[in-house]
């Protein structure tokens, strides 16, 4: 049971939710209001959805041993483009307008992702710099699109994407769920997952078995960009406004954190989408916790630091091993530590 890859992330999530229960007794209460589900848990899912999406893309990138810092900017650009198009359209309310807006955003995301991908795979720029470029410039582009202002749109079909409900469930949650399912299917019921893990695990060997590493690498950056774009649409649609300056600011850090909490190594190789989803939810729960139990803003960061480090410790097998040993041999003759090699060095 505790052996399972997802056990610890899940445990952490549950623990945090329960912690909330102590402070707000009706934290788990979910009832319907205005014909849709309403409650803290729903909020966590609702606001977590964009992060889940971004982290999803990030997981694939990280699986290949890369990293994508540009997602935040992509989020901003996508939202800005869509809102600009809608706000300038003749009838913002019409479905067709919204669809073209969405298409527009996704198309641009495709381009951005491809640029990242080619920089990394073909030109061989290190992922972190390659995507840093877009991280910096992209923010500017987003502001250029919104002209530095906040574009407010009033369009019910657009509102649906991030703020609306479908069958009483937040539409964004359904969207995220769909994306996750798709990703799982793509990676696990095709060979994509295996090939990605191979490329991330040993690029040289992967090349020598004839895996098209270049193509795969490009692909994951595109995927990441698209996920980010959809997240961008959600975020802007949720507040029916595009904020080129602040939308998706620092979301890349949260996403990477989610991936790592989910048990995927930044060195690439094995990845776990399920873990990532849990990780993202953990992070969202964390911020919700901060609001609900009213941690003063100036100590929020310290609190977060504490939580993050605890989470990581709990997840670290060596920490648990040490704890266990403390408990068993309370203060007996300390036998040699499992030389860290024991875990690291395999022939």
């Amino acid at each position: 049971m505790t052996k399972h890859r997802l056990f610890w992330p899940a445990a952490v999530l549950v623990a945090m939710l329960l912690a909330n229960l102590l402070f707000t007794p009706d934290f788990f209460a979910v009832h319907t209001k205005e014909g849709h589900l309403y409650g803290s848990l729903i909020d966590i899912l609702h606001f977590g959805a964009p992060l889940v999406l971004v982290s999803l893309g990030m997981t694939l990138v990280i699986a290949t041993g890369g990293i994508d810092l540009s997602v935040g900017s992509t989020v901003a650009i996508a939202g800005a483009l869509a809102c600009l198009h809608i706000s300038e359209a003749a009838d913002p309310g019409s479905v067709s307008t919204v669809l073209t807006a969405v298409a527009l955003a996704l198309a641009v995301a495709l381009v951005l992702g491809t640029v990242n991908g080619l920089l990394v795979s073909r030109i061989g720029v290190q992922p972190i710099v390659a995507t840093l470029i877009l991280m910096v410039a992209g923010r500017g582009v987003a502001q250029l699109i919104t002209d530095g202002q906040i574009i407010t749109v009033t369009s019910d079909p657009y509102r649906l994407i991030g703020g609306g409900y479908w069958l009483t469930v937040p539409f964004s949650v359904l969207l995220a769920a769909a994306a996750v399912t798709l990703a799982v299917l793509l990676t696990r019921s095709t060979a994509l997952g295996l090939l990605l893990e191979s490329v991330g695990g040993n690029p040289v060997a992967s090349r020598l078995v004839g895996i098209r590493a270049h193509r795969l690498t490009t692909l994951v950056y595109v995927a990441s960009a698209v996920c980010a774009a959809v997240a961008g649409l959600m975020i802007s649609s949720n507040v029916s406004a595009a904020d080129g300056n602040n939308a998706g600011l620092w979301i890349e850090l949260d996403a990477i954190l989610a991936v790592v909490i989910g048990g995927t190594s930044l060195n690439g190789g094995r990845f776990s989408i399920g873990g990532t989803v849990l990780g993202a939810l953990v992070i969202q729960t964390l911020s919700t916790t901060v609001y609900t139990i009213g941690i003063p803003p100036e100590t929020t960061l310290v609190f977060k630091a504490a939580v993050v480090i605890t989470v990581c410790l709990i997840q670290s097998p060596r920490f648990r091993a040490k704890l266990a040993r403390r408990r068993t041999t309370a203060h007996g003759g300390r036998q040699p530590e499992p030389a860290s090699a024991d875990l690291k060095v395999g022939a």
Binding site: G201, L208, V209, G210, R270, P336, V345, A347
Partner: protein
């Protein structure tokens, strides 16, 4: 008699799911060369890793020169006077040869590293193994064999009570081995105790005074070399009837069926600057072509060109008579070429993945990600080859990283065998593989050729090359100097001469 310098009693080591060492006793006397024998996965490397503190023991005690020994890690082991060459080359590819030799104990002047002195001593210590290489070049630019020699040079350079060599000769050829043995004898004279692991029985019998045999992590027995014939030794190792094995080990595997005229692959003036000079080569279906040469002679390089692993900057390749551009491995694979690298660790296996995944990887790659092998198909392949090559542990879901060296090599072979290629390039395929399995693999290669597969066979072990190949290309200083037809007359000695003299035809 004098007391052992190193003594192990009741040593136990358990890995999740595997009991690698079970109540093993072991003694090592000063001034002896002691062989540690056993099949792949018997527990030799584990014993060594436990002795040197890489893995903590789960039970038993170790005494060094009479005093009980507590070792927390390789550092302490070195300080205690145990110098080790581990099975896989464990050096830093990014550092220069010189640094790899001396890192951690660099000569210093006024607190700073004395570079010129360092280089001087480095050059000296590789010369001692008469290896002539530029010690300032990064280690990664050298072949696996050179790297292995560097690792040995590093180990023998320090003043040690005990020297541990885990399969140091797996990819060395005669000269290097001879050189190494000379060094080992010198150390033995000086009273150093040497623990030697190898799957080459001849080598063992040449250098070792005493041997300890492990089987499945249990102690089989300790013998004086002279008391035990090779045949007996093998039966001790595998605990099986010899009859069926003796057959394998000796009989020639060469099929004397004439190969068809139409070659599968023809290389003309194929070459790459700095790696291998332009050479011609044809391989016919059903034909085994061997490549022989000293280490660093360019065999691997030559082979890599045929697989598109390196860009050829001159020459052409024709496949089935039609010109083919082998720019990338994909292209080569698409043409039905398979390349089994000599460097399983860095160019072969993906340690994070399971045995099953590693086995199907090449096949899957050639099918593309949209046509996945069904899980059942994967399991079939995995299990079939685990049985065929007797990979241990037999669990397809075990992480390859955790397999023993030889078993890893088998996984690498299986990966390419399932793709059932038209041309199979094997670079040191039997590296680190035990006697029984080696015979199996040789038989396998022969049978595949029998069935019409073209094979390019590279091995540092001349006998092996001779036994299997119809024709043998000889390389020297990165140049193809001769191609000899292997009618029965060709002997290792003759081959050595050609290599040495570099006679052109």
């Amino acid at each position: 008699m004098q007391q052992p310098v190193l003594e192990v009693r009741g040593l136990r080591k358990e890995f999740p799911g595997v009991l690698a060492l079970d109540d093993v006793d072991f003694r090592l006397f000063p001034g002896e060369v002691h062989a540690l024998m056993g099949e792949n996965g018997a527990g030799k490397s584990t014993l060594i890793k436990v002795l040197t503190g890489v893995h903590p023991a789960d039970g038993g005690e170790v005494t060094l020169a009479g005093r009980p020994l507590r070792i927390a890690g390789p550092l302490q082991a070195q300080q205690a006077g145990i110098s080790t060459v581990y099975q896989e080359v464990n050096l830093c590819p990014n550092l220069s040869v010189a640094e790899n030799l001396f890192i951690g104990r660099e000569p210093r002047r006024r607190g700073l590293i004395h570079w010129s002195e360092l280089r001087r001593r480095a050059a000296a210590s590789v010369a001692a193994l008469d290896l002539d290489i530029d010690v300032t070049a990064p280690l990664e630019s050298f072949s696996i064999a050179v790297q292995q020699l560097v690792a040995i040079a590093r180990a023998v350079d320090v003043e040690a009570k005990v020297l541990v060599l885990d399969e140091p000769t797996s990819s060395l050829d005669r000269d290097e081995v001879a050189q190494l043995f000379a060094v080992m004898r010198g150390l033995r004279e000086r009273g150093v105790a040497i623990l030697f692991v190898s799957h080459f029985l001849d080598q063992v019998y040449e250098i070792c005074d005493r041997m300890t045999v492990l089987r499945n992590g249990r102690l089989e027995g300790e013998y004086l070399t002279r008391d035990l014939s090779q045949v007996q030794l093998v039966s001790r190792m595998i605990g099986a009837e010899l009859a069926d094995l003796e057959g394998l080990a000796t009989a020639s595997r060469r099929t004397d069926r004439p190969a068809p005229e139409q070659p599968f692959l023809t290389a003309e003036k194929l070459g790459r600057r700095g790696a291998v000079e332009p050479y011609d080569l044809t391989v016919r279906p059903g034909e085994v072509v061997g490549l022989a040469g000293l280490l660093g002679s360019g065999r691997t390089e030559a082979a890599r060109l045929l697989f598109g692993a390196d860009h050829a900057d001159s020459g052409t390749v024709r496949i089935d008579g039609r010109p083919a551009a082998l720019r990338t491995p994909q292209a080569a694979v698409a043409h039905g070429i398979a390349f089994c690298s000599e460097n399983r660790k860095s160019e072969g296996l993906v340690g994070e993945l399971t045995v099953r995944e590693n086995i199907v990887l090449a096949l899957q790659a050639s099918r593309g990600w949209l046509r996945p092998l069904s899980r059942t198909a994967q399991d079939d392949y995995a299990l079939r080859w685990i049985r065929a090559l007797n990979i241990r542990p037999g669990d397809p879901e075990a992480l390859v990283r955790n397999l023993s060296g030889g078993n890893q090599q088998k996984v690498l072979l299986a990966r390419w065998l399932i793709t059932d290629p038209k041309l199979l390039i094997l670079d040191e395929p039997t590296r680190g593989i035990d006697v029984g399995a080696k015979a199996e693999i040789q038989k396998l290669v022969a049978d595949l050729a029998e069935k019409g597969m073209a094979v390019l066979f590279i091995s540092a072990e001349l006998e092996e090359v001779l036994r299997l190949s119809h024709r043998i290309g000889v390389l020297r200083d990165h140049r193809m100097v001769a191609q000899l037809a292997n009618d029965g007359s060709l002997t290792p000695e003759h081959l050595m001469e050609t290599i040495a003299s570099g006679a052109r035809r």
